[in-house]
Point group: C2
Chain length 265, copies 2
Protein backbone atom coordinates (compact mmCIF):
# COMPACT_ATOMS: atom_id res chain seq x y z
CA UNK A 1 0.00 0.00 0.00
CA UNK A 2 1.41 3.28 -1.15
CA UNK A 3 1.74 6.17 1.25
CA UNK A 4 1.76 9.08 -1.17
CA UNK A 5 1.18 12.18 0.87
CA UNK A 6 0.23 15.45 -0.74
CA UNK A 7 1.15 18.84 0.48
CA UNK A 8 -0.95 21.93 -0.05
CA UNK A 9 0.77 24.45 -2.27
CA UNK A 10 2.28 27.16 -0.17
CA UNK A 11 1.62 30.88 -0.56
CA UNK A 12 3.99 33.35 -2.19
CA UNK A 13 7.21 33.79 -0.35
CA UNK A 14 10.75 34.93 -0.79
CA UNK A 15 13.65 32.56 -0.70
CA UNK A 16 15.70 33.56 2.31
CA UNK A 17 18.97 34.63 0.83
CA UNK A 18 19.56 37.60 3.07
CA UNK A 19 22.48 36.12 4.95
CA UNK A 20 24.12 35.06 1.71
CA UNK A 21 23.55 38.42 0.05
CA UNK A 22 25.17 40.26 2.90
CA UNK A 23 28.24 38.09 2.65
CA UNK A 24 28.35 38.81 -1.07
CA UNK A 25 28.20 42.54 -0.53
CA UNK A 26 30.91 42.53 2.08
CA UNK A 27 33.24 40.69 -0.23
CA UNK A 28 32.45 43.03 -3.05
CA UNK A 29 33.73 46.02 -1.13
CA UNK A 30 37.17 44.69 -1.93
CA UNK A 31 36.51 44.58 -5.67
CA UNK A 32 37.84 47.42 -7.71
CA UNK A 33 38.41 45.48 -10.85
CA UNK A 34 36.43 42.44 -11.76
CA UNK A 35 32.97 42.93 -10.46
CA UNK A 36 30.72 40.00 -9.89
CA UNK A 37 27.83 40.49 -12.25
CA UNK A 38 25.04 41.23 -9.85
CA UNK A 39 21.53 40.07 -10.43
CA UNK A 40 19.44 43.20 -10.32
CA UNK A 41 16.12 41.43 -9.94
CA UNK A 42 14.64 39.66 -6.98
CA UNK A 43 14.03 35.98 -6.80
CA UNK A 44 10.31 35.32 -6.63
CA UNK A 45 8.71 32.03 -5.81
CA UNK A 46 5.09 31.80 -6.80
CA UNK A 47 2.69 29.01 -6.12
CA UNK A 48 0.55 27.34 -8.73
CA UNK A 49 -2.47 25.86 -6.95
CA UNK A 50 -2.94 22.60 -8.78
CA UNK A 51 -2.86 18.96 -7.75
CA UNK A 52 -2.19 15.82 -9.64
CA UNK A 53 -1.50 12.20 -8.83
CA UNK A 54 2.22 12.94 -8.81
CA UNK A 55 3.96 15.02 -6.22
CA UNK A 56 3.58 18.71 -7.06
CA UNK A 57 5.60 21.30 -5.19
CA UNK A 58 5.72 25.05 -5.14
CA UNK A 59 7.15 25.95 -8.51
CA UNK A 60 10.43 27.74 -8.37
CA UNK A 61 10.05 30.63 -10.74
CA UNK A 62 12.63 33.36 -11.07
CA UNK A 63 11.68 36.36 -13.12
CA UNK A 64 14.64 37.78 -14.96
CA UNK A 65 14.83 41.28 -16.34
CA UNK A 66 15.84 40.84 -19.91
CA UNK A 67 17.60 44.17 -20.27
CA UNK A 68 20.23 43.02 -17.82
CA UNK A 69 20.98 39.84 -19.63
CA UNK A 70 21.10 41.66 -22.95
CA UNK A 71 24.60 42.83 -22.13
CA UNK A 72 25.67 39.22 -21.71
CA UNK A 73 23.99 37.90 -24.82
CA UNK A 74 26.95 38.05 -27.14
CA UNK A 75 29.61 36.45 -24.98
CA UNK A 76 32.21 34.75 -27.16
CA UNK A 77 34.35 32.09 -25.53
CA UNK A 78 37.96 32.75 -26.47
CA UNK A 79 39.96 30.46 -24.20
CA UNK A 80 39.93 28.13 -21.23
CA UNK A 81 42.03 29.32 -18.32
CA UNK A 82 43.78 26.86 -16.00
CA UNK A 83 41.27 24.19 -17.15
CA UNK A 84 38.80 25.83 -14.77
CA UNK A 85 37.55 29.13 -16.12
CA UNK A 86 36.20 30.23 -19.46
CA UNK A 87 37.42 33.55 -20.79
CA UNK A 88 34.92 35.37 -22.95
CA UNK A 89 34.79 38.71 -24.64
CA UNK A 90 31.83 40.76 -25.76
CA UNK A 91 31.17 43.81 -27.89
CA UNK A 92 31.33 46.07 -24.84
CA UNK A 93 35.14 45.96 -25.00
CA UNK A 94 35.60 44.20 -21.68
CA UNK A 95 36.01 40.58 -20.77
CA UNK A 96 34.35 37.94 -18.68
CA UNK A 97 35.66 35.10 -16.57
CA UNK A 98 33.21 32.24 -16.10
CA UNK A 99 33.64 29.42 -13.59
CA UNK A 100 32.86 26.39 -15.75
CA UNK A 101 31.64 24.25 -12.87
CA UNK A 102 29.50 26.94 -11.26
CA UNK A 103 28.01 27.82 -14.64
CA UNK A 104 27.11 24.23 -15.38
CA UNK A 105 25.63 23.85 -11.91
CA UNK A 106 23.35 26.81 -12.56
CA UNK A 107 22.23 25.33 -15.88
CA UNK A 108 21.57 21.89 -14.39
CA UNK A 109 19.91 23.33 -11.32
CA UNK A 110 17.33 25.17 -13.36
CA UNK A 111 16.77 22.17 -15.61
CA UNK A 112 16.21 19.89 -12.62
CA UNK A 113 13.99 22.49 -10.98
CA UNK A 114 11.89 22.59 -14.13
CA UNK A 115 11.40 18.85 -13.79
CA UNK A 116 10.50 19.28 -10.15
CA UNK A 117 8.06 22.06 -10.92
CA UNK A 118 6.29 19.96 -13.52
CA UNK A 119 5.67 17.50 -10.74
CA UNK A 120 7.93 14.74 -9.61
CA UNK A 121 7.56 11.48 -11.42
CA UNK A 122 8.96 8.57 -9.49
CA UNK A 123 10.31 5.25 -10.64
CA UNK A 124 12.28 2.36 -9.28
CA UNK A 125 16.05 2.78 -9.53
CA UNK A 126 17.49 1.40 -12.75
CA UNK A 127 19.77 -0.85 -10.74
CA UNK A 128 18.48 -2.13 -7.38
CA UNK A 129 20.30 -0.07 -4.75
CA UNK A 130 20.81 -0.80 -1.09
CA UNK A 131 21.99 1.79 1.39
CA UNK A 132 23.16 1.55 4.94
CA UNK A 133 21.46 3.57 7.66
CA UNK A 134 23.12 3.25 11.08
CA UNK A 135 20.83 2.57 14.05
CA UNK A 136 21.30 6.10 15.41
CA UNK A 137 19.99 7.50 12.17
CA UNK A 138 17.15 5.00 11.97
CA UNK A 139 15.88 6.36 15.27
CA UNK A 140 15.66 9.83 13.74
CA UNK A 141 13.72 8.58 10.75
CA UNK A 142 10.26 9.33 12.08
CA UNK A 143 6.97 9.47 10.18
CA UNK A 144 7.44 13.13 9.34
CA UNK A 145 10.88 12.60 7.86
CA UNK A 146 9.66 9.68 5.77
CA UNK A 147 6.95 11.97 4.46
CA UNK A 148 9.52 14.62 3.60
CA UNK A 149 11.57 12.04 1.72
CA UNK A 150 8.50 11.01 -0.22
CA UNK A 151 7.87 14.60 -1.18
CA UNK A 152 11.43 14.63 -2.51
CA UNK A 153 10.64 11.58 -4.59
CA UNK A 154 12.45 9.09 -2.41
CA UNK A 155 11.00 5.96 -0.89
CA UNK A 156 12.94 3.54 1.29
CA UNK A 157 12.04 0.01 2.39
CA UNK A 158 13.62 -1.62 5.40
CA UNK A 159 15.58 -4.59 4.13
CA UNK A 160 16.90 -5.93 7.45
CA UNK A 161 19.39 -4.69 10.01
CA UNK A 162 20.85 -1.37 8.94
CA UNK A 163 20.14 -2.01 5.28
CA UNK A 164 17.43 -0.21 3.32
CA UNK A 165 16.36 -0.70 -0.24
CA UNK A 166 15.77 2.39 -2.38
CA UNK A 167 12.39 1.53 -3.84
CA UNK A 168 11.65 4.84 -5.58
CA UNK A 169 13.60 7.84 -6.87
CA UNK A 170 12.48 10.90 -8.83
CA UNK A 171 12.80 10.98 -12.60
CA UNK A 172 14.95 13.81 -13.98
CA UNK A 173 15.51 14.46 -17.64
CA UNK A 174 19.25 14.19 -17.07
CA UNK A 175 20.96 11.12 -15.69
CA UNK A 176 22.16 11.19 -12.14
CA UNK A 177 23.59 8.88 -9.54
CA UNK A 178 20.51 7.75 -7.66
CA UNK A 179 22.31 6.28 -4.67
CA UNK A 180 24.44 9.40 -4.15
CA UNK A 181 21.33 11.52 -4.39
CA UNK A 182 19.43 9.51 -1.79
CA UNK A 183 22.36 9.33 0.62
CA UNK A 184 22.98 13.04 0.32
CA UNK A 185 19.39 14.06 0.89
CA UNK A 186 19.01 11.62 3.75
CA UNK A 187 22.17 12.92 5.37
CA UNK A 188 20.97 16.48 5.02
CA UNK A 189 17.53 15.58 6.41
CA UNK A 190 18.95 13.81 9.46
CA UNK A 191 22.01 15.91 10.26
CA UNK A 192 21.50 19.49 9.14
CA UNK A 193 19.59 22.43 10.48
CA UNK A 194 17.56 22.67 7.32
CA UNK A 195 14.00 22.08 8.47
CA UNK A 196 12.10 23.97 5.82
CA UNK A 197 11.04 21.63 3.05
CA UNK A 198 11.61 24.17 0.32
CA UNK A 199 15.20 24.68 1.43
CA UNK A 200 15.76 20.95 1.67
CA UNK A 201 14.48 20.52 -1.84
CA UNK A 202 16.73 23.32 -3.00
CA UNK A 203 19.65 21.54 -1.34
CA UNK A 204 18.74 18.22 -2.94
CA UNK A 205 18.41 19.65 -6.42
CA UNK A 206 21.56 21.75 -6.07
CA UNK A 207 23.43 18.61 -5.03
CA UNK A 208 22.18 16.79 -8.10
CA UNK A 209 23.15 19.74 -10.27
CA UNK A 210 26.63 19.72 -8.80
CA UNK A 211 27.17 16.01 -9.40
CA UNK A 212 26.02 16.31 -13.00
CA UNK A 213 28.28 19.27 -13.85
CA UNK A 214 31.64 19.56 -15.54
CA UNK A 215 34.38 19.87 -12.92
CA UNK A 216 37.31 22.18 -12.57
CA UNK A 217 40.41 20.72 -14.29
CA UNK A 218 38.41 19.29 -17.15
CA UNK A 219 39.57 20.36 -20.57
CA UNK A 220 36.87 21.96 -22.71
CA UNK A 221 37.14 22.84 -26.38
CA UNK A 222 35.88 26.21 -27.63
CA UNK A 223 32.59 24.72 -28.83
CA UNK A 224 31.82 23.18 -25.46
CA UNK A 225 32.69 26.45 -23.77
CA UNK A 226 30.42 28.40 -26.09
CA UNK A 227 27.64 25.87 -25.56
CA UNK A 228 27.97 26.31 -21.81
CA UNK A 229 27.88 30.10 -22.11
CA UNK A 230 24.87 30.06 -24.41
CA UNK A 231 22.98 27.85 -22.01
CA UNK A 232 24.04 29.82 -18.97
CA UNK A 233 22.64 32.96 -20.54
CA UNK A 234 19.32 31.21 -21.08
CA UNK A 235 19.06 30.61 -17.34
CA UNK A 236 16.72 32.77 -15.31
CA UNK A 237 19.51 33.68 -12.95
CA UNK A 238 22.86 33.19 -14.67
CA UNK A 239 24.84 35.18 -12.14
CA UNK A 240 25.34 32.66 -9.35
CA UNK A 241 25.44 28.91 -8.94
CA UNK A 242 22.71 27.39 -6.75
CA UNK A 243 25.07 27.64 -3.76
CA UNK A 244 25.34 31.39 -4.25
CA UNK A 245 28.84 31.50 -5.70
CA UNK A 246 29.50 33.80 -8.62
CA UNK A 247 29.43 32.24 -12.08
CA UNK A 248 30.57 35.34 -13.98
CA UNK A 249 33.12 38.03 -13.20
CA UNK A 250 33.07 41.01 -15.48
CA UNK A 251 35.94 43.35 -16.32
CA UNK A 252 34.71 46.38 -18.17
CA UNK A 253 36.59 48.13 -20.95
CA UNK A 254 37.20 51.02 -18.57
CA UNK A 255 38.63 48.71 -15.89
CA UNK A 256 40.94 47.12 -18.43
CA UNK A 257 42.15 50.52 -19.62
CA UNK A 258 42.62 51.74 -16.09
CA UNK A 259 44.76 48.73 -15.20
CA UNK A 260 47.04 49.53 -18.11
CA UNK A 261 46.74 53.30 -17.64
CA UNK A 262 45.27 53.69 -21.07
CA UNK A 263 42.50 55.95 -19.81
CA UNK A 264 44.53 59.11 -20.10
CA UNK A 265 43.62 60.15 -16.57
Amino acid sequence: KEDLSFSAPQPKRQIDNKAKDEEVKQLQLDFTYGEQVEPKFETKVTATPSFSDVEKETPYVEEPKDEIKDSLKRLRAIAQLQLTYIIAESDDGGFYLIDQHAANERINYEAFMKDVNKGLIMREPLIPELIDIPLNDQLRLNEEKFETLTRLGIKLEHFGGTTYKISQVPVFKEDYDEKVYVEDVLNQLLHSDIEDFSNLRHYAVATMACKASVRANERLDLNSMQYLLDNLLKANNPYTCPHGRPTIIHFSKYELEKMFKRTGT
Copy 2:
Protein backbone atom coordinates in the same frame (compact mmCIF):
# COMPACT_ATOMS: atom_id res chain seq x y z
CA LYS B 1 83.44 70.33 -42.36
CA GLU B 2 81.95 68.02 -39.77
CA ASP B 3 81.07 69.34 -36.37
CA LEU B 4 81.09 66.12 -34.38
CA SER B 5 81.10 67.09 -30.75
CA PHE B 6 81.99 64.59 -28.06
CA SER B 7 80.62 64.55 -24.60
CA ALA B 8 82.47 63.27 -21.60
CA PRO B 9 80.85 60.19 -20.16
CA GLN B 10 78.78 61.14 -17.18
CA PRO B 11 79.09 59.65 -13.71
CA LYS B 12 76.69 57.10 -12.23
CA ARG B 13 73.24 58.45 -11.77
CA GLN B 14 69.69 57.32 -11.32
CA ILE B 15 67.10 57.93 -13.94
CA ASP B 16 64.61 60.30 -12.37
CA ASN B 17 61.44 58.28 -12.26
CA LYS B 18 60.28 59.41 -8.86
CA ALA B 19 57.31 61.40 -10.07
CA LYS B 20 56.18 58.54 -12.26
CA ASP B 21 56.64 55.98 -9.53
CA GLU B 22 54.53 57.96 -7.12
CA GLU B 23 51.75 58.12 -9.66
CA VAL B 24 52.02 54.37 -10.09
CA LYS B 25 51.75 53.75 -6.39
CA GLN B 26 48.75 55.97 -5.98
CA LEU B 27 46.90 54.15 -8.70
CA GLN B 28 47.81 50.82 -7.21
CA LEU B 29 46.03 51.61 -3.98
CA ASP B 30 42.84 50.94 -5.89
CA PHE B 31 43.97 47.48 -6.98
CA THR B 32 42.69 44.53 -5.09
CA TYR B 33 42.68 42.08 -7.94
CA GLY B 34 45.03 42.36 -10.84
CA GLU B 35 48.27 43.73 -9.54
CA GLN B 36 50.68 45.37 -11.86
CA VAL B 37 53.79 43.23 -11.75
CA GLU B 38 56.19 45.49 -9.95
CA PRO B 39 59.85 45.62 -10.76
CA LYS B 40 61.59 44.89 -7.49
CA PHE B 41 65.01 46.07 -8.60
CA GLU B 42 66.30 49.56 -9.16
CA THR B 43 67.21 50.94 -12.50
CA LYS B 44 70.93 51.64 -12.59
CA VAL B 45 72.71 53.62 -15.24
CA THR B 46 76.44 53.12 -15.28
CA ALA B 47 78.99 54.93 -17.36
CA THR B 48 81.60 53.22 -19.48
CA PRO B 49 84.51 55.64 -19.91
CA SER B 50 85.49 55.03 -23.48
CA PHE B 51 85.64 57.17 -26.60
CA SER B 52 85.46 56.36 -30.25
CA ASP B 53 84.97 58.19 -33.51
CA VAL B 54 81.25 57.70 -33.25
CA GLU B 55 79.04 59.31 -30.67
CA LYS B 56 79.18 57.34 -27.45
CA GLU B 57 76.70 58.05 -24.71
CA THR B 58 76.25 56.85 -21.18
CA PRO B 59 75.18 53.25 -21.64
CA TYR B 60 71.74 52.53 -20.33
CA VAL B 61 72.14 49.39 -18.29
CA GLU B 62 69.38 47.94 -16.18
CA GLU B 63 70.31 45.15 -13.86
CA PRO B 64 67.46 42.73 -13.39
CA LYS B 65 67.14 40.28 -10.56
CA ASP B 66 66.57 36.97 -12.21
CA GLU B 67 64.56 35.43 -9.40
CA ILE B 68 61.78 37.89 -10.09
CA LYS B 69 61.53 37.12 -13.74
CA ASP B 70 61.67 33.40 -13.05
CA SER B 71 58.00 33.47 -12.13
CA LEU B 72 57.24 34.93 -15.56
CA LYS B 73 59.38 32.55 -17.53
CA ARG B 74 56.73 30.08 -18.47
CA LEU B 75 53.99 32.39 -19.67
CA ARG B 76 51.86 30.63 -22.26
CA ALA B 77 49.79 32.81 -24.55
CA ILE B 78 46.27 31.39 -24.68
CA ALA B 79 44.22 34.08 -26.41
CA GLN B 80 44.09 37.62 -27.68
CA LEU B 81 41.53 39.80 -25.96
CA GLN B 82 39.75 42.61 -27.79
CA LEU B 83 42.61 42.62 -30.33
CA THR B 84 44.61 44.56 -27.72
CA TYR B 85 45.70 42.34 -24.85
CA ILE B 86 47.35 38.95 -24.68
CA ILE B 87 46.01 36.54 -22.12
CA ALA B 88 48.59 34.15 -20.75
CA GLU B 89 48.64 31.50 -18.09
CA SER B 90 51.50 30.05 -16.12
CA ASP B 91 52.14 27.15 -13.82
CA ASP B 92 51.39 29.30 -10.77
CA GLY B 93 47.68 28.83 -11.38
CA GLY B 94 46.95 32.46 -12.11
CA PHE B 95 46.76 34.43 -15.29
CA TYR B 96 48.38 37.41 -16.93
CA LEU B 97 47.08 40.19 -19.12
CA ILE B 98 49.69 41.76 -21.37
CA ASP B 99 49.23 44.99 -23.32
CA GLN B 100 50.55 44.00 -26.74
CA HIS B 101 51.59 47.52 -27.72
CA ALA B 102 53.25 48.36 -24.41
CA ALA B 103 55.07 45.02 -24.43
CA ASN B 104 56.39 45.55 -27.93
CA GLU B 105 57.43 49.08 -27.01
CA ARG B 106 59.52 47.74 -24.16
CA ILE B 107 61.17 45.18 -26.43
CA ASN B 108 61.95 47.74 -29.12
CA TYR B 109 63.08 50.33 -26.61
CA GLU B 110 65.70 48.03 -25.17
CA ALA B 111 66.83 46.92 -28.62
CA PHE B 112 67.22 50.53 -29.75
CA MET B 113 68.97 51.45 -26.51
CA LYS B 114 71.40 48.62 -27.14
CA ASP B 115 72.22 50.19 -30.49
CA VAL B 116 72.61 53.58 -28.84
CA ASN B 117 74.86 52.14 -26.14
CA LYS B 118 77.11 50.55 -28.73
CA GLY B 119 77.60 54.03 -30.07
CA LEU B 120 75.48 55.79 -32.59
CA ILE B 121 76.39 55.20 -36.16
CA MET B 122 75.06 57.85 -38.47
CA ARG B 123 74.16 57.76 -42.13
CA GLU B 124 72.31 59.82 -44.66
CA PRO B 125 68.59 59.10 -44.82
CA LEU B 126 67.67 56.41 -47.34
CA ILE B 127 65.38 58.83 -49.08
CA PRO B 128 66.35 62.53 -49.08
CA GLU B 129 64.07 64.16 -46.52
CA LEU B 130 63.16 67.81 -46.11
CA ILE B 131 61.44 69.19 -43.05
CA ASP B 132 59.85 72.50 -42.30
CA ILE B 133 61.01 74.55 -39.32
CA PRO B 134 58.95 77.71 -38.75
CA LEU B 135 60.89 80.91 -38.13
CA ASN B 136 59.91 81.00 -34.46
CA ASP B 137 61.50 77.59 -34.00
CA GLN B 138 64.56 78.49 -36.03
CA LEU B 139 65.26 81.26 -33.52
CA ARG B 140 65.35 78.69 -30.72
CA LEU B 141 67.77 76.47 -32.61
CA ASN B 142 70.96 77.78 -31.04
CA GLU B 143 74.44 76.23 -31.08
CA GLU B 144 73.75 74.18 -27.97
CA LYS B 145 70.57 72.67 -29.39
CA PHE B 146 72.32 71.78 -32.64
CA GLU B 147 74.95 70.02 -30.56
CA THR B 148 72.27 68.12 -28.70
CA LEU B 149 70.74 67.02 -31.99
CA THR B 150 74.12 65.81 -33.18
CA ARG B 151 74.52 63.77 -30.01
CA LEU B 152 71.17 62.20 -30.89
CA GLY B 153 72.51 61.32 -34.31
CA ILE B 154 70.66 64.03 -36.16
CA LYS B 155 72.19 66.64 -38.44
CA LEU B 156 70.22 69.30 -40.25
CA GLU B 157 71.27 71.60 -43.09
CA HIS B 158 69.49 74.80 -43.87
CA PHE B 159 67.99 74.44 -47.33
CA GLY B 160 66.41 77.87 -47.72
CA GLY B 161 63.51 79.67 -46.07
CA THR B 162 61.91 77.44 -43.48
CA THR B 163 63.14 74.27 -45.16
CA TYR B 164 65.87 72.06 -43.72
CA LYS B 165 67.42 68.96 -45.16
CA ILE B 166 68.01 65.98 -42.89
CA SER B 167 71.61 65.19 -43.71
CA GLN B 168 72.25 62.52 -41.07
CA VAL B 169 70.21 60.15 -38.93
CA PRO B 170 71.28 57.41 -36.54
CA VAL B 171 71.43 53.79 -37.67
CA PHE B 172 69.24 51.39 -35.75
CA LYS B 173 69.03 47.68 -36.38
CA GLU B 174 65.31 48.00 -36.95
CA ASP B 175 63.75 50.16 -39.62
CA TYR B 176 62.10 53.35 -38.56
CA ASP B 177 60.56 56.44 -40.10
CA GLU B 178 63.48 58.84 -40.17
CA LYS B 179 61.47 61.98 -40.81
CA VAL B 180 59.00 61.25 -38.01
CA TYR B 181 61.92 60.57 -35.67
CA VAL B 182 63.65 63.85 -36.47
CA GLU B 183 60.49 65.92 -36.26
CA ASP B 184 59.52 64.34 -32.98
CA VAL B 185 62.93 64.85 -31.37
CA LEU B 186 63.17 68.40 -32.69
CA ASN B 187 59.73 69.23 -31.37
CA GLN B 188 60.61 67.82 -27.99
CA LEU B 189 63.91 69.70 -27.94
CA LEU B 190 62.29 73.03 -28.79
CA HIS B 191 58.97 72.83 -26.98
CA SER B 192 59.28 70.64 -23.90
CA ASP B 193 60.72 71.14 -20.47
CA ILE B 194 63.12 68.27 -21.00
CA GLU B 195 66.56 69.88 -20.71
CA ASP B 196 68.58 66.90 -19.55
CA PHE B 197 70.20 65.17 -22.51
CA SER B 198 69.73 61.70 -21.09
CA ASN B 199 65.99 62.27 -20.72
CA LEU B 200 65.76 63.67 -24.20
CA ARG B 201 67.52 60.63 -25.55
CA HIS B 202 65.16 58.41 -23.57
CA TYR B 203 62.26 60.30 -25.10
CA ALA B 204 63.67 59.97 -28.60
CA VAL B 205 64.28 56.25 -28.32
CA ALA B 206 60.91 55.64 -26.66
CA THR B 207 59.26 57.46 -29.51
CA MET B 208 61.02 55.27 -32.04
CA ALA B 209 60.06 52.20 -30.05
CA CYS B 210 56.43 53.27 -30.04
CA LYS B 211 56.34 53.86 -33.81
CA ALA B 212 57.90 50.48 -34.48
CA SER B 213 55.50 48.51 -32.27
CA VAL B 214 52.37 46.50 -32.95
CA ARG B 215 49.29 48.63 -32.22
CA ALA B 216 46.14 47.93 -30.32
CA ASN B 217 43.42 46.51 -32.58
CA GLU B 218 45.88 44.43 -34.58
CA ARG B 219 45.08 40.77 -34.75
CA LEU B 220 47.87 38.47 -33.56
CA ASP B 221 47.97 34.72 -33.88
CA LEU B 222 49.06 32.57 -30.96
CA ASN B 223 52.62 32.20 -32.31
CA SER B 224 53.09 35.96 -32.61
CA MET B 225 51.72 36.42 -29.13
CA GLN B 226 54.07 33.81 -27.71
CA TYR B 227 56.99 35.38 -29.58
CA LEU B 228 56.15 38.74 -28.05
CA LEU B 229 55.93 37.25 -24.56
CA ASP B 230 59.19 35.36 -24.93
CA ASN B 231 60.98 38.52 -26.02
CA LEU B 232 59.36 40.66 -23.37
CA LEU B 233 60.64 38.29 -20.71
CA LYS B 234 64.14 38.63 -22.09
CA ALA B 235 63.98 42.38 -21.47
CA ASN B 236 65.83 43.83 -18.53
CA ASN B 237 62.72 45.52 -17.29
CA PRO B 238 59.70 43.75 -18.73
CA TYR B 239 57.22 45.32 -16.33
CA THR B 240 56.59 48.71 -17.91
CA CYS B 241 56.79 50.29 -21.32
CA PRO B 242 59.36 53.09 -21.73
CA HIS B 243 56.64 55.61 -20.87
CA GLY B 244 56.08 53.92 -17.54
CA ARG B 245 52.79 52.22 -18.34
CA PRO B 246 52.30 48.65 -17.15
CA THR B 247 52.93 45.90 -19.66
CA ILE B 248 51.76 43.01 -17.47
CA ILE B 249 48.89 42.67 -15.01
CA HIS B 250 48.96 39.56 -12.88
CA PHE B 251 46.03 37.78 -11.30
CA SER B 252 47.19 35.16 -8.87
CA LYS B 253 45.53 31.83 -8.29
CA TYR B 254 44.36 33.09 -4.93
CA GLU B 255 42.82 36.21 -6.44
CA LEU B 256 41.00 34.11 -9.01
CA GLU B 257 39.66 31.80 -6.33
CA LYS B 258 38.63 34.71 -4.16
CA MET B 259 36.69 36.30 -6.99
CA PHE B 260 34.74 33.09 -7.42
CA LYS B 261 34.60 32.36 -3.69
CA ARG B 262 36.47 29.14 -4.17
CA THR B 263 38.83 29.85 -1.30
CA GLY B 264 36.58 28.35 1.33
CA THR B 265 36.91 31.45 3.49
